[in-house]
């Protein structure tokens, strides 16, 4: 689909096209491209067409179907979809009882006119930065199909970057929205921890799990975020704090914003392209100052340990009974996680508060921080190591080096897609704002997009 979500909604609402035509176009593109790219694990043809017809009837009756009228979207398959087992990228969950209702965020998007069209491939149980999956195959990068989509919301990146759908939802525990957004060249929003309800999704690390949208424009992120915001008593971590709409502020520009690039930890440990992308964005924003962020390395380490331990706790019984049915890469990390001492986890949670306090001081002197999203362009599928500062390291955990400290304390981030001159692959930059200020990160992203500094073109993909 060449149109963005906002363009589709505008055309449907004005009667220039129908919701049914938009759903059919998405289904056609999925049929053509999915065999080669492997983004979808479930396609909801009947449900989506019925829903489209309801939207079209609503418009014919002069009723308002909502700001996302007729917009097809898809979700990482850890979201509950009524009538389907919630796979979370696993073989094991295929035996689960089908969900009896949709996840809260699906229901909220559909309440504003959007149309769920399917479930998307992902790294098993979200413990992944690659988009690879031993059971369902890798979701592929539409810009170079022998390269990774990034994970764990890999299918969410593949589906939007290839134009199968204009909007997808993912989850982000340590970077799983921002990493595929970076590798697939998309705009991705990881909101503040507690901002969007996680009700009706399969968890990974309860103290770090976030959900959010991925799209090809900032406007689409804002439309989706505004539709999904709001308290939900069904998610114990959901904040009751007021969540103002971001759309009215989106084109407010940069006036009054103090923007700095992150130094120290965030200025080494990656390939040249990661820092060139930050240079590019900083230059456009005239962000000349660098700000030191002390404690980022320790924050990343603490997030790493909490993830291992909480992830293992979630899956301990499954590791006893169904160990042979796990993806081996995930299984071995989870088993090791079961052996992490409780004292380490308790200290890691204390470090979380210490780092939060440090970062709140940083936001006394700036409103926006720029940092790389990934340490490199999309690696090739099957690659298992990465060379960082001359040292060969395991790829899987290290793709989240720059995202992990930020989600550790729940800061809102928009990952924006940069195309460096002469390069065939995109790479992302994190636009980070203070807690609860999604509006600021989105404003900066929109400004960069309007200035032509960042963009998310649909990949030119050949069908299988």
């Amino acid at each position: 689909m060449s149109k963005t979500a906002s363009e589709i909604a505008s055309a449907v609402r004005s009667g220039k096209t129908t919701a049914r035509a938009q759903v059919q176009e998405a289904l056609q593109r999925i049929e053509e491209l999915n065999p080669a790219l492997n983004a979808f694990t479930d396609v909801l043809t009947t449900r989506a067409l019925q829903r489209a017809d309801n939207i079209d009837l609503c418009i014919a009756a002069d009723s308002d179907p909502g700001p996302l009228a007729g917009v097809p979207f898809a979700v990482k398959n850890l979201f509950d979809i009524e009538g389907f087992p919630t796979l979370a990228g696993s073989k094991i969950n295929n035996a689960h009882t089908p969900a009896t209702k949709d996840a809260t965020l699906i229901a909220r998007l559909e309440a504003t006119g959007a149309i769920l069209i399917g479930g998307l491939n992902m790294g098993e149980y979200a413990y992944d930065f690659t988009g690879e999956n031993r059971h369902y195959g890798p979701s592929r990068n539409p810009h170079a199909p022998n390269h990774m989509s990034g994970g764990s919301s890999g299918g969410s990146g593949t589906a939007v970057a290839s134009g199968m759908v204009p909007l997808s939802l993912g989850s982000d525990t340590n970077g799983s929205i921002r990493v595929p957004s970076s590798l697939c060249g998309l705009f991705g929003l990881k909101p503040t921890y507690g901002r969007l309800s996680r009700n009706g999704t399969f968890p990974f690390v309860a103290s770090l799990d976030h959900l959010g949208p991925m799209a090809r424009s900032t406007l689409d992120l804002a439309l989706a975020y505004d539709a999904m915001r709001g308290h939900d008593v069904e998610d114990p971590a959901a904040s009751a704090k007021e969540a103002p709409a971001t759309l009215p502020l989106l084109n407010k520009g940069l006036d009054g914003l103090r923007i700095k690039r992150a130094g120290g930890y965030f200025s080494s440990g990656g390939h040249a392209e990661a820092f060139a992308a930050v240079d590019h964005v900083a230059k456009h924003l005239n962000a000349l100052a660098t700000i030191e962020i002390s404690g980022a390395k320790e924050a990343r380490s603490a997030a790493y340990i909490i993830t291992m331990a909480e992830g293992a706790a979630l899956h301990l019984d499954r590791l006893r009974i169904h160990h042979a049915d796990f993806d081996p890469d995930v299984r071995d990390r989870l088993i090791a996680g079961a052996m992490i001492p409780g004292a380490w986890v308790a200290k890691a949670q204390k470090c979380r508060r210490v780092f939060h306090t440090e970062m709140m001081k940083v936001f006394d002197s700036c409103d926006v921080i720029l940092a790389p999203a990934t340490p490199c362009f999309a690696p090739k599928i099957g690659q298992t190591t990465i060379v960082i500062d001359g040292q060969e390291l395991p790829l899987r955990p290290n793709m989240g080096l720059f995202t992990q400290p930020i989600s550790f304390i729940g800061l809102p981030v928009v990952s924006v897609p940069v195309w460096l001159p002469g390069e065939k692959l995109p790479i992302g930059v994190q636009i980070i704002s203070a807690p609860w200020r999604e509006d600021i990160a989105l404003r900066v992203s929109a400004w960069l997009e309007n200035a032509g500094a960042v963009s998310a073109p649909i990949a030119k993909v050949e069908s299988a």
């Binding site: 340990i305 890469d329 071995d332 470090c351 395991p394």
Partner: protein, 62 residues
């Protein structure tokens, strides 16, 4: 935290029994590599000096 290397294979044997978590022989090498990685990575925050009164991040509100 000490730099003294630890025996990951021994730890797997002992913790497998402690956790009642059977571990197949072919899993041991992968598990050991993750234990060694976690030990190396955790060092940076375990070495931080924190006050006894430092409050962990999650706060339960009854």
């Amino acid at each position: 935290m000490s730099e003294t290397p630890f025996d990951a294979d021994l730890m797997i044997t002992v913790m497998s029994a402690f956790l009642d978590l059977p571990i197949q022989p072919e899993y041991r090498q992968g598990v050991a590599s993750h234990l060694l990685a976690s030990h190396r990575i955790a060092k940076s925050f375990l070495d931080l000096a924190l006050d006894d009164e430092a409050e962990p991040a999650p706060v339960f509100t009854p």
